[in-house]
C-alpha cells in the first residue's frame, strides 16, 4: 500500500506537451480515476508513476521517498495496459503466473497454483487457463490482463481503461468486482477511463485532465456539483450538462456568458416558456428535449408523462452554474 505524490511533473514528447506542472497526491487506499479525452495525458501519468517513463521535470514520491532512481520492478506496482500486452508465447495460466514467478516475488509453486485458480474464478476465465494467450477474444484477453495485475499484492494498481473492450454485462460485473477487491484489500488504485459511470461509481477521487493540465482533483460528487469550469462539468453526468447563453434566464451575475444546468436541475411549471421537440420514454424516467429560444436542452420528467412533441411548458433553473467567456466558473 502506498501514498504517491506527484510534484510539478512535466513531460513532452518532441514538441507535443503531454503533461504540464501536474501536482497530485494519491492518498493511501484511495481509488483515483483520471478523466479526460484522448491526448489529455492520462496514460502518461500512469507511465510516470509506474516508472516506464521519466518526467522531464518534477518529482514523484512513493511513501515519501523520491522514486526517480527506482526501476519499475522496485516500485512494485501492477499495471493493466490498454493494449493488453499478454505474452503471446505463453498460455493463459503462464501469463497469470508470470508476475508471481518474478525474481522480486519468487512465489512457491503451490501458492502460484492457488492464486492463479482463485483469480481465474473471479474473472470467469477458468476454462481458458490452458489456451494460448493469442487464441482468446478481446474481452478474454482484457480479463487475463486484469488478472495478471490482481494476482499479486502490489503497492498500487495502475489500470489503463481496463474495461473498455468488454460487453456491457461483464463490464458492470467487473466494475463491481474491481471496486470490491480494491476496498477489501485497502489497495490504492490509479485508474484511467473515458467512462463516466466508472468514474462516478468507483472513484474516491477524480482527476480531470485537459491538455496535460490537471484542472480539478476532487471527489466525484464535488466535481459533479461544483465543477471549476465548463470542461470539468462536461466530464461527468449523463445526459451531459446543458450549456445555455447566460441571459436566457434572469439573475445571471456580472460577466457570466454561459449557464450550466444539470438535467435534474430544472424546475418545470414556472419561468421561461419552452417547447417540447422530442420525448424519450426510458421506462424509469422520461427525457424531454426542449427548445428555449435558439437553444436546446434536456431535462427529466415523470416516467408516465403524457407530454408530446409541440407542447409547451415553463421552466426555471435550480442550482445554476455560471461560467465566464473562458469557460471558468464564476
Amino acid at each position: 500500500m502506498a501514498e504517491v505524490s506527484l510534484q510539478n511533473i512535466s513531460k513532452s514528447f518532441g514538441d507535443q506537451v503531454a503533461l504540464e506542472n501536474v501536482d497530485m497526491t494519491i492518498p493511501d487506499g484511495s481509488f483515483v480515476v483520471l478523466l479526460g479525452p484522448t491526448g489529455a495525458g492520462k496514460t502518461t501519468i500512469l507511465r510516470m508513476v509506474s516508472g516506464l517513463d521519466k518526467p522531464d521535470s518534477g518529482q514523484i514520491f512513493i511513501n515519501g521517498q523520491d522514486a526517480a532512481s527506482q526501476s519499475p520492478a522496485q516500485r512494485n506496482m501492477a499495471m493493466v495496459f490498454q493494449q493488453y500486452s499478454l505474452y503471446p508465447h505463453l498460455s493463459v495460466r503462464q501469463n497469470l503466473a508470470f508476475p508471481l514467478k518474478s525474481p522480486m516475488l519468487r512465489t512457491p509453486a503451490d501458492e502460484i497454483v492457488r492464486k492463479v485458480a482463485e483469480i481465474a474464478e473471479v474473472l470467469q476465465i477458468s476454462h481458458k487457463l490452458d489456451s494460448k494467450a493469442t487464441e482468446l477474444s478481446g474481452g478474454e484477453m482484457q480479463r487475463v490482463s486484469i488478472g495478471r495485475a490482481l494476482v499479486r499484492n502490489p503497492q498500487m494498481y495502475l489500470m489503463d481503461e481496463p474495461l473498455s473492450s468488454l460487453d456491457a454485462k461483464l463490464r458492470s460485473d467487473l466494475r463491481i468486482e474491481l471496486k470490491r477487491i480494491q476496498s477489501s484489500l485497502g489497495a490504492t488504485m490509479l485508474y484511467v477511463t473515458h467512462d463516466q459511470v466508472e468514474a462516478m461509481t468507483m472513484a474516491t477521487h477524480v482527476g480531470v485532465l485537459d491538455h496535460g493540465k490537471l484542472v480539478q482533483f476532487a471527489s466525484p460528487r464535488e466535481i459533479y456539483e461544483n465543477p471549476v469550469s465548463i470542461y470539468a462539468a462536461s466530464r461527468l453526468g449523463s445526459p451531459k450538462i446543458n450549456l445555455l447563453p447566460a441571459d436566457l434566464f434572469p439573475g445571471a451575475p456580472e460577466g457570466a456568458s454561459k449557464i450550466g444546468l444539470r438535467p435534474e436541475h430544472i424546475n418545470v411549471g414556472e419561468g421561461q416558456t419552452a417547447s417540447v421537440i422530442r420525448v424519450e420514454h426510458l421506462g424509469d424516467q422520461t427525457r424531454l428535449h426542449l427548445k428555449l429560444g435558439e437553444s436546446e436542452l434536456i431535462t427529466f420528467t415523470d416516467a408516465h408523462s403524457t407530454l408530446a412533441k409541440g407542447e409547451t411548458l415553463k421552466i426555471a433553473p435550480k442550482n445554476p452554474l455560471y461560467f465566464d467567456a473562458n469557460g471558468d466558473r464564476i
Binding site: 509506474s50 516508472g51 516506464l52 526501476s71 519499475p72 520492478a73 512494485n76 506496482m77 501492477a78 499495471m79 495496459f81 493494449q83 500486452s85 505474452y87 503471446p88 508465447h89 508470470f98 508476475p99 518474478s102 525474481p103 522480486m104 516475488l105 495478471r148
Partner: protein, 313 residues
C-alpha cells in the same frame, strides 16, 4: 464449393500451380539425385557414356571414401588371408587391400566443429547486437548498421591476402579457432541484420509488461523477447550454418591439415589412385546430411522466416 471465389483457387488453378511446383522441384533436385546416385555406382558406370540411369548399386565409392588402399601386387597374391569384413571384400574385388582409414572422417568432424561453432557464436553475438540496435538509442546507429552491412558488399575472398597474413601473424593458420572466428565475423553482418528485423517486429510493450511484473531489463529480454524471436533465430541459424558449412575459398587458403574442413578435402579424393568419382559423390552425399537434418528440424521456423515481413500485421 461452387461458384466464384476471390480467395479460393479453382480446381484447375490448383492443378496448374501444383504441376509448376513439382516440375521446378524436379529441376532443382536433379543434380542432388545424380550425386547421390553416382555415389552408389561402380567407377566404370560413373563415367560411362551415355550416362547410366539404371545401374547395379555398389558401395565401392563409400569404401574408397573412408579408407586408404594399396594395390595387390603379384608377390602378395596367394599369401593374403581371406577377407573378414564386407568392405574388405569390396576392396579385394577391385584388386586392392585396405591399409587404413582415410582422413574424411576427421575432416568431416572439423566441418561440424567449425560450422556449428561459428553458427552458435554468430547467433549469440548477433542476437545481442540486434537487440541493442532495435531497442536502444545508439549514436550514429544507422551508420553503424550500414558499416556492418558493407562488409558483405565485396566478395569475402577479396580480403584473402590480408586475412592470410593476419592469420599467420596471430598463429591462427590451420586452427579450429581461426576458422570459427572467421566464419563468425562473416556471418555476423547477416545475423545482425536479419535478427534486428525480427526483433523490431516484437512490440516493446511486452517488455514493458515484464518490467512492471517485476523483471529486470535483461530478464525481460531473456524471458519475453528471446522466445518470441525463436523463429527468426532458427532461420538465421540455418543461413549462417549453410554458409559456414559450404565455404570453400577461405578453407582452401587458411587450412591444410588439422583444421581442414570437408569442402577442400573432397576434391582431393580425385587425385588418389585415378578419378574416383563415386568416392567424391559419396563424400558430397554424406556432407549434405547434417545441414539437411538441421534444416528439417528447424523447417517450420524457416518457412515463416523466409516469408517474414512480406505481410504486415
Amino acid at each position: 464449393m461452387s461458384g466464384f471465389s476471390v480467395t479460393e483457387p479453382s480446381k484447375r488453378q490448383k492443378w496448374i500451380s501444383g504441376l509448376l511446383v513439382i516440375s521446378y522441384a524436379l529441376i532443382t533436385i536433379m543434380p542432388l539425385l545424380w550425386i547421390i546416385g553416382t555415389g552408389f555406382k561402380s567407377p566404370e558406370d560413373a563415367i560411362s557414356y551415355p550416362p547410366k540411369v539404371i545401374f547395379e548399386p555398389s558401395l565401392e565409392g563409400y569404401v574408397n571414401l573412408f579408407t586408404t588402399r594399396t594395390r595387390i601386387t603379384a608377390s602378395m597374391e596367394g599369401n593374403l588371408p581371406p577377407p573378414d569384413t564386407w568392405y574388405e571384400q569390396i576392396a579385394r574385388n577391385s584388386g586392392t587391400i585396405i591399409s587404413g582409414p582415410s582422413r574424411y572422417g576427421q575432416r568431416f568432424l572439423n566441418s561440424v566443429i567449425i560450422g556449428f561453432g561459428s553458427t552458435f557464436l554468430a547467433i549469440f553475438f548477433g542476437t545481442l547486437a540486434a537487440y541493442a540496435f532495435s531497442r536502444f538509442k545508439i549514436p550514429i546507429k544507422d551508420d553503424l548498421l550500414f558499416f556492418i552491412l558493407s562488409t558483405r558488399m565485396m566478395p569475402p575472398i577479396a580480403v584473402a591476402i590480408p586475412m592470410f597474413l593476419m592469420f599467420r601473424q596471430l598463429g591462427l593458420n590451420d586452427t579450429h579457432l581461426g576458422m570459427i572466428l572467421l566464419y563468425t565475423a562473416v556471418n555476423l553482418s547477416l545475423s545482425v541484420w536479419l535478427l534486428k528485423g525480427f526483433i523490431d517486429e516484437i512490440p516493446f510493450e511486452y517488455e514493458e509488461a515484464a518490467l512492471i511484473d517485476g523483471y529486470s531489463r535483461f530478464q525481460a529480454f531473456y524471458k519475453v523477447v528471446l522466445p518470441q524471436a525463436a523463429t527468426g533465430i532458427a532461420s538465421t541459424a540455418i543461413f549462417c550454418l549453410i554458409f559456414a558449412w559450404n565455404e570453400y575459398a577461405f578453407a582452401v587458403l587458411l587450412t591444410s591439415g588439422d583444421a581442414q574442413t570437408a569442402p577442400p578435402f573432397i576434391p582431393t579424393i580425385i587425385g588418389v589412385g585415378g578419378k574416383d568419382w563415386p568416392a567424391v559423390a559419396a563424400g558430397a552425399t554424406i556432407f549434405l546430411i547434417p545441414v539437411m537434418i538441421f534444416t528439417i528440424l528447424l523447417r517450420k521456423h524457416l518457412l515463416r522466416g523466409i516469408t517474414f515481413g512480406a505481410v504486415r500485421k
